[in-house]
Symmetry: C2
Subunit: 324 residues, 2 copies
């Protein structure tokens, strides 16, 4: 019988669920707006509702488990959401235990950046590799790493909060409360803020007309039409990402860096600037590391969550074989 | 019979060898100045000479292997020194194979920061922990990480070149060729350079008298005697280290950060500033991570190299048991 896993991608905006097969293909999916202010009971009700809908009429014996990608930092060892900024009431909330009460399948929990890295590693741009770093560049910056063919989790499973490495002493304010984080300069939010600010100061740009309404896609569109300010902003963003990725390359020594998130829609435009930075400024032994676009697009985390359930089954099997 | 391992710490200045027992105790040691300009043949001759001296008259059957800590970045998977800046002629040099020709025991090779992390993990400040980051703050900054009870090696075994994460865009020149690296601000060399520069500009400091001869220990001595400039310089160094360590805490999620290297001699003076930075500016879930001094002092790498040989034997045994 074909085995399937349930993947849940719980975010502050959307909660998504999918049935995924062992090849990483989404068989069916459902999503809705997260009732982020309604408290954990309601949010878990949403997850239960989505899963029930997907499983309705399915042969239940083929489900190996449920993997859940949750917004971090979350203690995935204890299974507790200590204090999730984007979800009201998730304070010292025993998320895994509460999920487990609602499902008969084993529940696995992972910080969202790590879940997405697992998706790209098992089924996406990093399939078959032993070392990769995944970076999502979107509203914020997050990520995950696979090193020596293993997921890097660390204490409480909270590793790879790479958006919060410092790239500028006492720099721009970051949503985390610190200043000068990679996220505060490299995220889509930071990119858009720079574009708005500079557009207002620049007479020659076509972006000026939009004023505070400039969005990141407008900048890329204007750039393609030859707008100088827009292209400068994009080149600057590529340099910021290139510098951050170079740090990550020195830290993790990956074979590739996988870029996902909203800004990766414009990966073709950003790629050369990022790669040029790495090939000029990384230490010589690291200069050949390639940056690639996430192959699973917006589904890295959703498919990665499902992959967790498969990995869990496989490692149990391996332990059983070793002990047998 | 008591088993022993041979540890070699090959550096650009000193080459050191030790016999180490299974408890991490150095039974005997020898060292000499590295003939860094004489080429690999001569340097390997030095290693051979040191080991022969140590083993002279010993029962050879009890030696489990030789671990070698080498200055990176070195490809420890292929066993090749691609281009070692501090050792002339180590260009695409098959270091492990050449070492293996000279010894009857299995040879293991590791980048120096990783070897030191292994030493502290197996026998030092991180004994029994599953997650730690080791940082050496000396002429440069290097390190290694243990995550999920495993050494983080990455592609070519070159992970944890943490001295070369960027902390300032287009900042101070770094020996690696880039600008703005952690090493260019946080190393003992950078600390001393700042002290010399500011001392010359400051009439009130006792450091001024020494001018260009100020060394880092002079700054700590002056600080203890109440010199304001010296104490400002030390507090600034602690903040730089605290900021860098906070990045590493977000990236690896360790239980502790272990600080070694020359500046760790003054760990007591630096600790509070570093810890204060972390407890204020790390994301809340990471604020309790403690910074501790390397327990093995200048021997983290030497003992770590020997530990490599023991780990190698143990993993072979574990595989044999699992397959048996």
């Amino acid at each position: 019988m074909q085995q399937i896993a349930i993947g849940i991608d719980l975010g502050g905006t959307q909660v998504r669920a999918a049935l995924v097969d062992e090849g990483g293909t989404i068989l069916s999916r459902a999503e809705e707006r997260t009732e982020a202010l309604a408290g954990p009971e309601r949010v878990l009700g949403q997850i239960r509702g989505l899963v029930d809908g997907l499983l309705s009429g399915k042969e239940l014996r083929s489900v190996v488990g449920i993997g859940v990608s949750a917004p971090g930092p979350i203690d995935t060892v204890a299974g507790v959401a200590t204090n999730t900024p984007t979800l009201a009431g998730f304070v010292n909330y025993p998320l895994r235990a509460e999920l487990q009460k609602r499902f008969r399948y084993p529940v696995r929990l992972e910080n969202d950046g790590i879940a997405a890295a697992i998706g790209e590693w098992q089924f996406g741009a990093g399939k078959g590799l032993e070392n990769l770093v995944y970076v999502t560049v979107s509203t914020g910056i997050g990520g995950g790493a696979v090193v020596d063919n293993r997921v890097v989790r660390g204490r409480k499973g909270m590793a790879a909060h790479i958006g919060h490495m410092s790239v500028m002493p006492n720099g721009a304010p970051c949503p985390c409360g610190n200043r000068g984080c990679f996220e505060a300069y490299g995220s889509g939010t930071a990119f858009t803020a720079r574009a708005r600010e500079r557009a207002l100061q620049c007479a020659e740009t076509t972006l000026g007309k939009n004023g505070a309404d400039v969005h990141s896609r407008d900048v890329f569109t204007a750039g393609r039409l030859g707008d100088t300010l827009a292209n400068d902003l994009i080149d600057e963003e590529a340099e910021i990402l290139g510098r951050g990725f170079t740090s990550l390359i020195h830290i993790f020594s990956p074979e590739i860096v996988v870029m996902g998130g909203g800004l990766s829609h414009e990966f073709e435009r950003l790629q050369q600037g990022i790669q040029t930075y790495i090939s000029h400024w990384a230490m010589p032994a690291f200069r050949d590391v390639q940056v690639v676009r996430a192959a699973l697009g917006q589904n890295s985390g959703l498919i990665g969550a499902a992959a967790l359930a498969f990995l869990s089954v496989r490692s149990t099997r391996a332990r059983t074989v070793a002990a047998g």
